[in-house]
């Protein structure tokens, strides 16, 4: 069938393609600023300590050192939810916590100055495990949280914001169950998505109270909003976004880094650049929350879930900025995946003495499901239920609903994903390969193959607000005003594509403003998978508004009503007689037309991704090789074919499928140090090891925006990790419940690796 669209769904070069490929894109680190200073952070050697005294005089004597700041020198700026985590504090709470900030005229001098700052600490006992942190008498990280439990809830999500899943009567549900299973399951390896470009910023303070930040984050407008809150609205913050060298959620915010630079600029009167090293990025920036769930589920023999009851512990590290949000979204997502009338799932967010958790794609739901699906699998095995059938049956269908993050019940009004799941299963060959639980698909000597499946859906595709303007010019060009940065997905080009489709204007004639918070309207940014529906709707609405105003303005000239006119290629013409036309120039050369668009949140739609995994396990070495991945989804309408393919192929890394195979941060729980904060010891898949990935994408029109599409990119990583555990368990005939499935764990499960001497790490 010929496409209805001229631009939507067509593969075109990205607007920034030439610059990226030729290495001329100006990333943050490429930008030059006159008189710039370089900022560095002195970091704590102790996981928990009070700073008794700091001597900075020697450091200040070094040539080129312009400022040394400690907790006593800086305003009482606080982050966190609730906001009680001081930017620089008298107390340090993890190895790597900020103790002092230095600005100097070269990076080397700044680094050297750190060695001349003398700090005396009073070392405090530290705690690295959630359950230990919850015990009476455990070391206490914050005065505000005496039991190391962070206050639940997210005021921004509204008065009823979701803090748990409490529906129906679980006792009644368990009474109806054919099979009940229980246990403790965790996803605690805290993978870091490690965008290639580390967090960084350039800050320029202007007295008395304003600061401009050049940022390379995922959501540059929100950087200004967050900093405004951190500074108690006493500072006027302008952010100028540039190309973002990857984020995967983790660079949605980096308020600490931005505040460090802002304060150093305030102290010196000069622009200050502060970019984290790779080691800092891994050991002293945010990680995925660690998740541990003790729960009980009841199911019937037909795969109906009758009850879910349990406690979900979430280790947020030394504080929480967004963990409550992740918990709220995770609690919503779990209802999208599991259709159950009786829930009693209580999250508890715990703080421990390690670097904080923060946003990573998967946003709560991946963490929760990586614990829940292994538990459900035990029940499915007992009940003899095929996991594919279970997931098909349980995933949300039109007319069913869920409590979303705001605590409000939404009835799902999107498409039925059963067709996409079945098409994916057919492509993968599920029916032929599935031999039952704990049964390999094939055995060839010491090589055993197994399969697994996972599913994930997120109603964040319509979350939060977006605004945009589209300005039409008499020369037949248009400009999109939207505070979005290109973070690698190609979405900037896609918003131009949407404007092009509405205006029927070649994409080359449409430009976009710099993502400067001063000139653009509110934009929550491309978080989750909201880019296509939420941001896209605002952009489309702005373009439609501009088009309507154009037609209204030119209607008298063409002696027609606006609804009888259309526009294409910078010409307005009469639909009944296209020969009657005027160029946009007819609006007058001294005039522009601006349309405004806004998107208000809509949680009644969710996306869906099912991932099928095949692994081959070497029972003599414990090596797990990913041999095949099939992703299946339905997204209404493909906007950008190569962009979509790249997003779906991104299912492996950035703390996705590979978080079940080898990605993990290794924390020594006796000394509180991250041991593998480098790119050799943090295992990361390289190109020679890419498995076969096939993507099945259906296009059943959605009741979303003008082009009937929904976003998908974020959740590509989410169904995979638990599917890997399932596949390896099936290959070996033994349950594996720990992430990642290292050779050590596989050999142990096979009874081939006894314990040696030494400690308990």
């Amino acid at each position: 069938m010929a496409s209805r669209y001229r631009f939507i769904g067509k593969a075109t070069p990205r607007k920034d393609a030439r610059e990226i490929v030729t290495g001329t894109t100006k990333f943050l680190d490429d930008r030059k600023f006159p008189d710039i200073l370089y900022g560095k952070v002195l970091r704590s050697p102790h996981p928990h300590a009070l700073i008794k005294s700091v001597s900075k005089s020697e450091a200040l004597k070094l040539p080129g050192v312009k400022a040394v700041l400690i907790w006593e020198d800086v305003p009482d700026w606080k982050g966190g939810t609730p906001r009680c985590f001081r930017l620089l504090d008298r107390k340090v709470r993890y190895v790597g916590d900020a103790v002092a900030l230095v600005a100097a005229d070269t990076e080397e001098r700044a680094r050297e100055a750190l060695r001349y700052i003398r700090v005396e600490y009073e070392v405090l006992p530290a705690v690295f495990d959630m359950e230990e942190a919850l015990r009476p008498g455990a070391p206490k990280l914050h005065e505000e949280f005496p039991e190391n439990i962070i206050t639940p809830g997210v005021p921004f999500f509204g008065p009823k914001n979701l803090k748990e899943v409490a529906i129906g009567d679980v006792e009644k549900g368990f009474a109806e169950a054919d099979v009940i299973t229980e246990g403790t399951f965790s996803y605690e390896n805290m993978p870091n998505p490690i965008p290639p470009e580390p967090p960084g910023v350039v800050a320029l303070w202007e007295a008395p109270d304003s600061v401009t930040l050049w940022v390379s984050n995922q959501a540059s407008y929100m950087d200004s909003v967050i900093l405004s809150h951190v500074t108690e609205k006493k500072v006027r913050v302008r952010t100028i976004g540039g190309p973002c060298g990857g984020s995967f959620g983790s660079k949605y915010m980096s308020w600490q880094v931005q505040c460090y630079a802002a304060l150093l600029s305030k102290a010196t009167g000069r622009p200050v650049k502060l970019v984290l090293t790779k080691e800092e990025h891994l050991a002293a920036f945010t990680l995925r929350p660690a998740s541990r769930m003790s729960a009980r589920v009841g199911i019937k023999k037909d795969g109906t879930v009758t009850a879910v009851q349990g406690t979900w512990l979430i280790d947020t590290g030394c504080y929480s900025m967004t963990t409550q949000s992740q918990v709220a979204v995770g609690c919503g997502e779990v209802q999208i995946m599991v259709n159950c009338p009786n829930w009693d799932l209580k999250p508890v967010i715990v703080c421990t003495n390690r670097n904080a958790s923060g946003i990573v794609r998967g946003f709560g739901g991946q963490e929760l499901k990586c614990c829940l699906i292994p538990l459900l699998s035990l029940a499915m095995e007992k009940a003899g239920v095929d996991p594919l059938e279970f997931m098909k049956k349980n995933f949300v269908k039109p007319g069913r609903g869920y409590f979303w993050r705001d605590g409000i019940w939404y009835v799902y009004r999107g498409v039925d994903y059963t067709k996409a799941m079945e098409k994916g299963a057919e492509t993968f060959g599920w029916k032929e390969k599935w031999k039952g639980w704990l049964t390999p698909t094939a055995v060839d000597g010491h090589k055993r193959r197994g399969i697994g499946v996972g599913v994930h859906g997120n109603a964040d595709i319509g979350e939060d607000s977006s605004e945009a303007y589209v300005r039409l010019h008499p020369d037949g060009t248009a400009m999109l005003f939207s505070c979005i940065t290109e973070h690698g997905t190609g979405q900037v080009t896609n918003y131009i594509r949407m404007v092009a489709e509405v205006l029927q204007l070649p994409m080359e004639r449409i430009s976009i403003t710099p993502s400067d918070s001063l000139i653009n309207p509110y934009e929550f940014g491309p978080a989750g998978s909201r880019g296509t529906y939420a941001i896209g709707s605002a952009v489309i609405a702005a373009a439609e508004d501009a088009r309507q105003k154009l037609l209204e303005l030119l209607a008298p000239r063409l002696k027609a009503r606006p609804e009888d006119l259309d526009t294409a290629d910078g010409i307005v013409y009469r639909k009944d007689d296209p020969g009657i036309k005027v160029p946009w120039k007819a609006m007058a050369v001294d005039r522009t037309i601006t349309g405004c668009g806004r998107f208000d949140p809509d949680y009644s739609l969710t996306n869906c991704m099912m991932t099928f995994i095949e692994v081959e396990v070497d029972t003599e070495t414990g090596k797990v090789a990913l041999t095949r991945v099939v992703n299946a989804t339905d997204i209404g309408q493909i906007i950008d074919p190569p962009g979509l393919e790249n997003q779906l192929n991104g299912c492996l890394g950035s703390a996705g499928i590979d978080s079940a195979i080898f990605e993990e941060m290794v924390l020594d729980r006796s000394i509180g140090r991250m041991l593998n904060a480098n790119m050799i010891d943090y295992k990361w898949r390289t190109f020679p090891e890419l498995p076969v990935i096939e993507n099945v994408v259906l296009e059943t029109p959605f009741p979303s925006h003008r082009f009937h599409a929904v976003g998908i990119g974020e959740i590509a990583t989410s169904p995979g990790p638990s599917a890997v555990l399932m596949a390896v368990s099936n290959a070996l005939g033994v349950w594996l419940h720990e992430y990642p499935v290292t050779p050590e764990r596989v050999l142990k499960a096979l009874g081939k690796a006894g314990a040696g001497k030494g400690g308990a790490a």
Binding site: H46, E108, G622, F662, P743, G758, G759
Partner: protein, 323 residues
């Protein structure tokens, strides 16, 4: 990185003189692929005052044949060794070991001398200074080996003593199986060290002022089957969890000579003498290979988290023999 003097050496003698002059406060750069990351991490106990660049010494990158031996200059690059027809036809196991190191860019810069002398990868030893300070340990001369009570999944399962870091060199394993000898130049003159004696738990065998000059590899009988197997968490750009180099000669199915070396299990490559004895004079099959593998690991004493390495090592020994 901190400031240091950078000195281009023109001759080995000049490099030795410089080492003497700096009295332990200089380090050698024979490729820099490992050295630079250690300098950037500032993890060394004492930051070097000088880096002596050996790459400016001419004619030290040769690979030549001489009286039944291969002679390889210390500055021969790993990529050159991996692709050398002379190495490939005489001691393939060395070529394969060189090819298994890191990725192409690193192999183009790294040298065999540097590969033998690189520092350990222990994550306590390598912990970066700028995240709360480097970690002190036995290898740095103060305190215990933290791996013993900590996360020792990649550490030694045999021969560890005070320090349990493993030898990270892949070429050392092949050279141990080939009975190669390392020729060293130093202030007291030249001497020769067997590969197997080059490594010990706290450091290598080089005395102050000494430099690796040449590696001499006795030629192997052409009928010998040479195998290098390296088990890593990910395929490219990774250090071995366990590696095994084996050189097995058979005549009419009967093993006449077997040389097996294990890597990444101890502070240096380990020759599996007992396993070699098991094989000699026997017809090689799965059963004898399994018995040899058991013998190869008979001396293993794992730490809390690394018993799994024994199983992997046995598997690699067995697979190497059966190639």
């Amino acid at each position: 990185m901190r400031s240091f003097a950078h000195i281009n050496a023109r001759t080995i003698d000049e490099a030795i003189a410089l080492l003497r002059r700096y009295r332990g406060r200089a380090v050698l750069n024979a490729g820099g692929t490992d050295l630079l990351s250690a300098l950037k991490a500032e993890c060394l106990p004492r930051y070097p005052e000088a880096v002596i660049n050996l790459k400016t010494i001419p004619d030290l990158d040769y690979i030549r044949e001489d009286d039944g031996s291969l002679r390889i200059g210390a500055l021969a690059r790993l990529s050159g060794i991996a692709s050398s027809p002379l190495v490939g036809s005489n001691c393939r196991v060395l070529a394969d070991a060189a090819r298994s190191v890191a990725g192409p860019q690193i192999r183009n810069a790294a040298t065999i001398g540097g590969n033998l002398c690189q520092d350990v990868r222990c994550w306590y030893y390598r912990y970066p200074h700028h995240i709360g300070g480097a970690i002190q340990c036995a290898r740095k001369g103060s305190g215990p080996c933290l791996a013993v009570k900590g996360d020792n999944r990649y550490h030694a399962i045999m021969n560890g003593k005070r320090c349990f870091a493993v030898c990270p060199s892949d070429t050392a394993v092949a050279l141990a199986a080939l009975d190669a000898r390392i020729h060293v130049a130093g202030p007291e003159g030249d001497r020769t060290i067997a590969t197997i004696d080059f490594f010990s738990p706290l450091a290598n065998a080089l005395r102050p002022g000494e430099i690796v000059r040449e590696i001499e590899v006795p030629k192997v009988r052409t009928s010998a089957v040479q195998t290098f197997l390296k088990f890593t968490v990910r395929e490219p750009i990774d250090f071995a969890i366990v590696s095994v180099a084996s050189v097995v000669t058979r005549e009419e199915g009967v093993c006449t000579d077997a040389r097996i070396a294990l890597g990444a299990v101890a502070p240096g490559p380990v020759r599996a003498g007992k396993a070699e004895e098991v094989l000699k004079g026997e017809r090689i099959d799965g059963e004898i290979a399994a018995r040899a593998a058991e013998q190869a690991l008979a001396g293993a004493r794992p730490l809390s988290r690394n018993a799994y390495k024994i199983e992997i090592a046995k598997t690699l020994v067995k697979r190497g023999i059966l190639q």
